[in-house]
């Protein structure tokens, strides 16, 4: 299939090179994995505007190289890598990128050897340790990955990204209690982060049982307090309160309270859908569907 020459990004979207550079920075800072877009924008920036980028170019090479690996663009990955190797010949940071390329080619043994050599030189190099754990994950060795990550966290207790990764690994293994523990660590150090609260609530809910449901309801409520537009927290509050109210084991007072919470949540959900649906014809069904769903759940609950 012959490739039609595509219009450049700047032509298609009518953006300047500065805007492209700023977009790349935003994606970098917020850790987005929109690799195809990064490759599109980054490749053009590098090819057409390298001279204007100044020292930014090195971090852009790194970002584009990693995105290129995601898109199987080994040609692009190699050329970025070559520029970086030339500029930073003895850098561990660049060596890690060499390792990542080996991983992308599934040459895990070679990649591990490379990371081990970095760690011999610098045992505190967290990046190399994390890549080794990523390799375990890629190979499906979840138990080992979890063990290594736990060991890592004993040394680097403040690494939030690692705690979050560990919570996900535990969730995938259905070890919800340990996942909850990880999220508790995250909530302790980031009490204003509504996402951690909400995820913790979801884990508790999944664990099940009355006590966990009540805890989940409290944390869904807390997440809402921190961000009143978190729809997951709102739905979660509704679901947990409804289940508690429907449980035969609760006292009349608890039942009454939870019916109230659920009713409040239902109104908020309806309102959110009304707001979202304004102006779109298709969204009307969605408002109706939500109303009906909430009604049918009320019936099941009473």
């Amino acid at each position: 299939m012959t490739k039609i020459k595509m219009a450049s990004v700047s032509e298609l979207y009518d953006v300047t090179w500065e805007e492209m550079r700023d977009k790349l920075r935003k994606w970098r800072e917020e850790n987005y994995r929109n690799s195809e877009q990064i490759v599109d924008v980054g490749e053009e920036l590098i090819n057409e505007h390298a001279s204007k980028l100044g020292d930014d170019i090195w971090i852009i090479y790194e970002q584009v190289m990693i995105a290129a690996l995601d898109c199987s663009r080994d040609d692009l990955a190699l050329s970025c890598l070559q520029e970086l190797k030339r500029q930073f010949p003895d850098s561990h940071r660049v060596k890690r990128l060499v390792g990542m390329r080996l991983e992308a080619l599934e040459r895990y043994e070679d990649a591990n050897k490379l990371y081990d050599s970095i760690l011999q030189d610098d045992p505190t190099n967290t990046a190399a340790r994390k890549r080794k754990i990523a390799i375990l994950k890629a190979q499906g060795k979840s138990t080992e990955a979890i063990r290594e990550l736990n060991e890592y966290l004993e040394q680097f207790v403040g690494d939030l990204e690692a705690w979050h990764e560990l919570s996900e690994l535990y969730i995938n293994e259905h070890d919800y209690a340990k996942a909850a523990f990880c999220l508790e660590e995250l909530m302790m150090t980031n009490p204003h982060n509504h996402l951690y609260c909400e995820q913790y609530a979801e884990v508790k809910y999944t664990q099940g049982g009355l006590e966990n449901l009540e805890l989940s309801r409290k944390y869904f409520a807390q997440a809402l307090k921190l961000n009143n537009r978190n729809m997951r927290a709102l739905f979660g509050l509704y679901m947990s309160a409804s289940h508690i109210a429907a449980s035969p084991k609760v006292s009349a007072k608890v039942k009454k309270d939870n019916v109230k919470y659920a009713a409040w949540a239902a109104t908020q959900i309806n309102r959110a859908y009304q707001l979202a649906g304004r102006g779109t014809k298709e969204a009307k069904y969605s408002v109706k569907a939500v109303e009906e769903m909430l009604e049918s759940m009320q019936i099941a609950m009473s």
């Binding site: 890629a138 995938n172 259905h174 809910y205 989940s216 979202a276 298709e282 969204a283 569907a289 769903m293």
Partner: protein
């Protein structure tokens, strides 16, 4: 555990049996259903994704073994990333069930594409959700996307279909094609992948991030129709 080494049908954990007497259950997908499933997997290549398959509600399904295939007319992409949490799944199942009733559909199947390329077996999440669906639709199937066969050209069907027998999910011989019109499905899916339409595919996670995101994907449905 064997990961399908050398066996033509790669299905590490299922019982590979000749279903000679097994004519009843077959499953077919419309182009729209097949397409959206693949677009969902393509949008999040680094994540596990899952979703529901819906069929038209029929007043009575013939159970006399004369192989009326279940036709999946549409698919609703659900989540990407962490699939093993309950609350949002419950919300989605309830909401989509209500939507189904409005449109004379029924939730009749479940699909999942795993995070790793070589992982093509249904896991606990898949089995649980599929079991839940079976409560309402006894012939529910569980479909796993074979990531290792996923290409831009879509030159072969890449689904592994599991059916529930004797308390286990067993995979079905996938030599037959599972699409109502394979040529059409292949052509249209390839075209939409090429044009990166998956960037606009909405799953339930996207919907929860912003309620204006429509998980019925009317725009993509239109594109599919347009290309038919």
């Amino acid at each position: 555990m064997l990961y399908g080494t050398g066996v033509s049908h790669q299905c590490g954990n299922c019982e590979w049996r000749i279903w000679s007497d097994f004519k009843t259950m077959t499953v077919k997908l419309t182009t729209q259903a097949y397409c959206k499933m693949l677009l969902h997997a393509a949008k999040y290549p680094h994540c596990a994704v899952n979703g529901l398959l819906v069929a038209e509600r029929q007043r009575e399904r013939r159970r006399d073994g004369h192989g009326v295939p279940v036709l999946y007319v549409d698919c609703v992409p659900l989540f990407h990333g962490t699939l093993a949490l309950a609350p949002m799944l419950e919300v989605a199942l309830n909401l989509i069930d209500t939507w189904c009733k409005e449109n004379r559909y029924v939730i009749a199947g479940y699909y999942q594409a795993n995070e790793r390329i070589k992982d093509f077996r249904p896991n606990q999440v898949a089995e649980k959700v599929a079991a839940r669906i079976s409560e309402n639709f006894s012939e529910a199937t569980l479909i796993v996307v074979d990531n290792s066969k996923f290409t831009m050209d879509c030159y072969e069907p890449i689904l592994t279909i599991f059916e529930h027998h004797e308390n286990k999910w067993k995979c079905r011989d996938s030599t037959g094609d599972c699409c109502e019109d394979w040529v059409e499905a292949q052509k249209i899916t390839a075209a939409l992948l090429e044009s990166r339409s998956y960037e606009n595919l909405i799953d339930f996670d996207n919907h929860l991030d912003d309620l204006r995101n429509d998980w019925t994907n009317p725009e993509i449905n239109k594109s599919v129709l347009h290309l038919c």
